[in-house]
Every structure is written in C-alpha cells, then in structure tokens.
C-alpha cells in the first residue's frame, strides 16, 4: 500500500478534470461543479480556490503568502487553513496536484 497523495506548500494545484468554478444565480452561491456532483463554497473556500487553482497561481506557499497579506492575518494560521482545505478538496476529487 502506498501513501495517499498530499498537498504541501511547495505543491501546485489545479481543479481536477471536469471541475468548474461557477456562480449560480438561482441560489446566489459559488460552487464547484464536478462529475455528477456539486460542492457549495463558503467565502473562505472560494478565496482558497481562487488563490490556488488558476494556472498562474504559483505554488500553494506563494498563494498562502498572498492571502496572509490580503487578509492581514498571521501566515501560519492561513497556511494551516489552506492546506487543510486543499487536502480535503483533494480527497474529494475536486483538485489535483
């Protein structure tokens, strides 16, 4: 048995094939649309997805530094939240390294 994949600060992530970020007007919610699934994003999750998954986002660590500046929060706190969220999204198949 091998270790399951994990996202670290030096990882780069993108949305998995077939996953789209979309604002749904009917529900006024941001969501990830995926094969036969939908994940509604709260403000924090939306900020993380927008900061880390675009092609020009750089590494997860670089995105964390930007988010820490933008939200004027301790970098270590932001890093813990972002890595936990991305690894959860990875486990659920919404992002890939």
């Amino acid at each position: 048995m091998t270790d399951s994949p994990t996202i670290f600060e030096d990882s780069r992530v993108r949305l998995a094939p077939g996953v789209m970020l979309r604002h749904d007007r009917a529900r006024d919610e941001w969501m990830l649309l995926a094969p036969e699934r939908v994940l509604v994003l709260d403000d924090t999750a939306l900020a993380v997805v927008r900061a880390t998954t675009p092609r020009d986002a750089g590494t997860v660590g670089e995105a964390i530094t930007r988010l820490a500046a933008e939200y004027d929060a301790p970098r270590a706190d932001i890093a813990a939240d972002v890595l936990e969220m991305l690894n959860d999204l990875l486990a659920k198949g919404y992002v890939v390294p």
Partner: protein, 373 residues
C-alpha cells in the same frame, strides 16, 4: 450522485431540482440484462426532435438545475448529440454523458468536448472481454470501451468508470478498481445491480449470494483508504441484503427530474412501473411547473404520504421511506414502506425471495430487447 446543496430552510420553500436525466433514446447496441430502461421501450419514431430537447434544456436551466445527464439507451445514436451538448452549455448546464462508448470515435469525442462536454461515464460489464461481451450481448464491445476511455482522458475530459456488479463478476471488484486506476479515471462507481426494469426481470440470473456480497464489501473497504485522493469512489451496495433502505434518488422529487425519449417527465426512471400515476409531458407544462406541483412529483415528496412504520421513524428524512418502485415490486404496494427495511412487515418475505433467487444459479439471461422503429 452526491449533492451538497443547502436544503430549503422552510417547509413551504421548495428547493430547485439539482439535475435532469435526459434519456435521449431507448435505442442501444448493447443488450445488458440489467438495463434500467423500462420493459416497454419508446420506439425511435416517438423520440423528441432536436428543437424539443433544446426547449427541455432551456427549461432545466430556468428551473435552477445545475447539471444535465445525457443518457439513454445509448445517447450516441442521436446525431444531434453535439448540438444538444452545445445548447446545454450555452444555457449554463454542466454536461455529463452516460454512455456505453461502443459507438464513439475520437473525432466525435473532440467535437463533443469542443461543444462543452465536461464528463464521460463509461459502463464496463466485466474486466475481461469474454465475460463483458457475453453480458453486453455485443462482440468487441469491451475492447472498444477501453479504447474510448483512453480517448476521454487524452481529450482532457473527466472520466468515470461505472463497474456494474452482479453474481458473474462480483469477485473481480479489485480488478475493476485497478482497471479504473490504469485508465486514469477520476471516479469509479462500484455499482451493484439495482433490480428495476430489465434488472428485475433478470434478478434470479444476477443476484449475488450473501457470501459473495460480504467478500466484495470487505475487498472494497480494504481499498478505500488507499484510493483517497486518487479516485473518487461512489459505492452502491445491493440493498436486498441491507437492513435499512437507500434514499432512492436522494428522496422522491427532491433532487432529480427524468425526461424520457418521448418527453414524459418522471421523478425517477422506474416510476412508470407504478400504477395510477399521472405523468405529464414536456409538451404540456414546463419543468418548473411540473417540479412544483406535478401530481407524480407531489405524490411521494417529503413525508406526508408515509405509512407506518415510516411515519414514526426517526430516519424518515434520511432515507425518505426508501424506494417506491421497490415497494411496489416487492410488497405489491407503492405506498408501503420499502420492504428492504427491517421494520417493514414484508421484510422476511423479501429475504426469502432474495435467497431463492440468489440460489437459482442456472437461470439464463433474458437479454434486453430493442425498441421498435
């Protein structure tokens, strides 16, 4: 299908449906004995035309639906599939294609991708060609499916492998998982056959034994930790061996609408087996109207219709009383509790029926028929 949408907070606020299953046709080159299509297949001549399907897609988006599943039969027999995918994309629907893949080629796949297709789900009948082609009743089908699965990921589309399990292949569940990983699928449905439509007719030819089921379940659960982050697993157990019923369709008329080839609008693909139901068509009212108060949708939505023991059960907003079609098929009454539930008075009879069918090892398949022209 998983759906993590927030529920409506007030009882009088009806949440919009999540997805529409667009059954474009009942035609299919395969003849799988567990096909979920009804025994009375819509003839090709009664299939809706392109303009009618486009109107259905417009209405699905208007109703707040997020996804469309182009299904069948085999949706690739429709020459207008590209046009319908493009239209669905234009109106903002996420597009899934549920296909046997045997009619697909790379040019068409690229055209579908360029029209906006996001996800392709390919069913496999077995992990080896001989068994798979015997079950599908289509020689060369398995090899074709594997080739198309590779095209799907090469085209950058999401791929789901639908591994359909029953007594003849349930021992190869590990091989199914390995095959899905080899094909770079993002998702696998480990889908034990559900006994509706042709599957119900063939139950005695398909139902696994309890020992087979336990071995499969043990194998799957042993693999799950290692699959995390590699492949999404949707695992459907055969509920004939369960103690509590499944929340069929996520609850009657809570998530999905199903449109048949000729335009009837159903809460689930097997609902037409229930007698005394009044099904509307897309030619009469819009999907929003039918969702809101169509008699077939209202009839079993929520908990108002529930008999005992469901009415007093603390699970009744978890499993929503199970499956109406199964209650009809097994208890002879669509209004009854799903007999799969151990609280149902028909549960013991279901167990006896199940054990008799599981032991009927010599039962031949009755292959799915073809619709009339």
């Amino acid at each position: 299908m998983t759906c993590l949408l927030p529920r409506a907070t007030h009882a009088d606020t009806l949440a919009p449906p999540f997805a529409v299953l667009a059954e474009l046709t009942h035609r299919c080159p395969l003849r799988c004995p567990y096909c979920s299509n009804p025994l009375a297949l819509d003839p090709a001549s009664r299939e809706m035309d392109t303009a009618s399907w486009k109107r259905v897609l417009d209405q699905a988006a208007d109703a707040g639906m997020l996804q469309v599943h182009f299904s069948g039969g085999e949706p690739c027999v429709r020459k207008d599939l590209e046009e319908l995918v493009a239209h669905a994309t234009d109106v903002g629907l996420y597009t899934n294609l549920i296909t046997s893949a045997v009619l697909m080629d790379e040019d068409r796949l690229i055209r579908l991708r360029d029209a906006g297709l996001q996800h392709v789900q390919i069913s496999l009948q077995d992990t080896e060609a001989e068994g798979a082609d015997r079950i599908g009743g289509f020689k060369g089908g398995h090899a074709r499916k594997l080739a198309v699965a590779e095209m799907v990921t090469r085209a950058g589309l999401a791929l789901t492998i639908n591994a359909v399990l029953h007594r003849h292949n349930i021992g190869r569940v590990d091989a199914f998982i390995d095959l899905a990983l080899d094909l770079n699928a993002g998702r696998i449905e480990i889908a034990n056959v559900q006994y509706y439509g042709w599957g119900l007719v063939n139950r005695a030819a398909l139902l696994p034994s309890h020992e087979q089921l336990i071995a499969m379940d043990t194998a799957v659960r042993a693999r799950l930790p290692d699959l995390k982050g590699r492949i999404v697993v949707d695992y459907v157990v055969p509920d004939y061996y369960a103690r509590r019923p499944k929340a069929c369709m996520g609850g009657w008329a809570r998530r999905f609408m199903n449109v048949t080839p000729s335009g009837r609008v159903l809460p689930c693909h097997a609902a037409e087996t229930i007698p005394g139901m009044d099904f509307e068509t897309v030619h009469e009212r819009t999907l929003s109207e039918i969702w809101r108060d169509g008699p077939a949708f209202v009839r079993y939505r929520g908990t108002h219709w529930m008999p005992k023991p469901c009415r007093d059960c603390d699970q009744n907003e978890v499993d929503w009383g199970g499956c109406r079609c199964q209650a009809l098929a097994l208890a002879g009454d669509a209004d009854a509790a799903d007999p799969v539930c151990e609280k149902s008075s028909a549960h013991a009879a279901v167990a006896a029926l199940r054990d008799a069918d599981a032991a009927a090892l010599d039962t031949p398949f009755r292959y799915r028929g073809s619709p009339a022209e």
